[in-house]
Amino acid sequence: MQQNFGYFGRQVVILPHILRLDSGWTVNVKALIGDGITKVIYPLHTFKISNIIGYDTMNITGKKIVKLIVAVSVGVWIFSYFVYYDFETSCFIKLKPGLMSFVEFNHSNIKEGLQALKYGTPDVYAGVCSNIDTIESDYGCGGWQGGCHYGEEGRITLSTTHSEFVGWTAAIIGHEYCHDLQLREGRSFSEEECYSFDSQILQTIVGVYPN
């Protein structure tokens, strides 16, 4: 048997591995290796290829693992639409889509806005992460391309679109966070303060050319 297979070399067989021959025989490669053969390639150059009618590259457990990986990947991909997570700073914010925002799929823009805050204005980002639990997204809250705070602590609404200027999305997150702070601190609702706050964010995170 060792003479038939020989040492060829393009592909190392992953064990366990069964070659099935048209004679109905099966050849356990592990046994071959036990006989001193360390490498077998497929297709086999000197072994008559017509004699091989198939081969199993994986056992049942291997197939299950691949299916599990595919299922988990798809699950994580869908789940990530509804959550912003940043393990580095332990920041988790629920992203709740409104009915119309399913059409827009604008959560990637919101996530990028949060990333801009993270690197551009770390203090604001830390405040958002620790105070804001939920960001709702929908069309037409407080006009187009704006945001709203409906007086519920930790919950803000954005109406930015998928193709929004991400600097503006970051600024609106900051603006609504400002209103959330006003609420938590028992201060009156002031738009002026929050316009000034989001303007500072814009000036910090957006680098323009020419200056």
Binding site: K63, L117, G120, F165, V166, W168, S199, V206, Y209
Partner: protein, 137 residues
């Protein structure tokens, strides 16, 4: 069909479609590797001025091209502003050729500019992005 073979065929088909799509509508190059999404402003006279600008950079300023490929994954035509119009009324009257938002991989270019101007702007923005990330190390 063998499950692994099925997954392999699907993966290859998706990869081929993806590369074809990116090469048609975006900027995609293998040597040096560069993959940047392009979003042009609807109705511009100069079609594909961002793609042309990247090609121009690739030929004439390889260092800036390399930086753009490293720091940007999307380039859009959109007007930039760096203040809130509720506070600074004249903010929209300022015309910026482009901008970069810190912490992101996006660059924005003023709609309607020529490929030459966009190449110059992208060169400046890519260096801006590099300086920002270097300052954080």
């Amino acid at each position: 069909m063998d499950f692994l073979k099925f997954i392999s065929i699907i993966t290859i088909a998706v990869a081929v479609l993806y590369i074809g799509y990116r090469a048609s509508y975006d900027h995609f190059a293998i040597f040096p590797y560069c993959s940047i999404s392009i979003r042009e402003h609807f109705g511009d006279a100069d079609k594909n001025s961002i793609g042309k600008a990247l090609s121009l950079l690739r030929k004439s300023n390889t260092e800036s091209y390399r930086l753009a490929c490293k720091y940007f994954d999307k380039i859009e035509e959109k007007r930039c502003f760096n203040a809130d119009g509720h506070i600074y009324e004249n903010v929209f009257s300022k015309i910026h050729k482009g901008c970069y938002v810190k912490g992101t991989k996006r660059a924005y270019l003023l709609p309607g500019e020529t490929a030459e101007q966009n190449a110059k702007t992208l060169s400046a923005l890519s260096q801006f992005a590099r300086d920002f990330w270097h300052s954080r190390q």
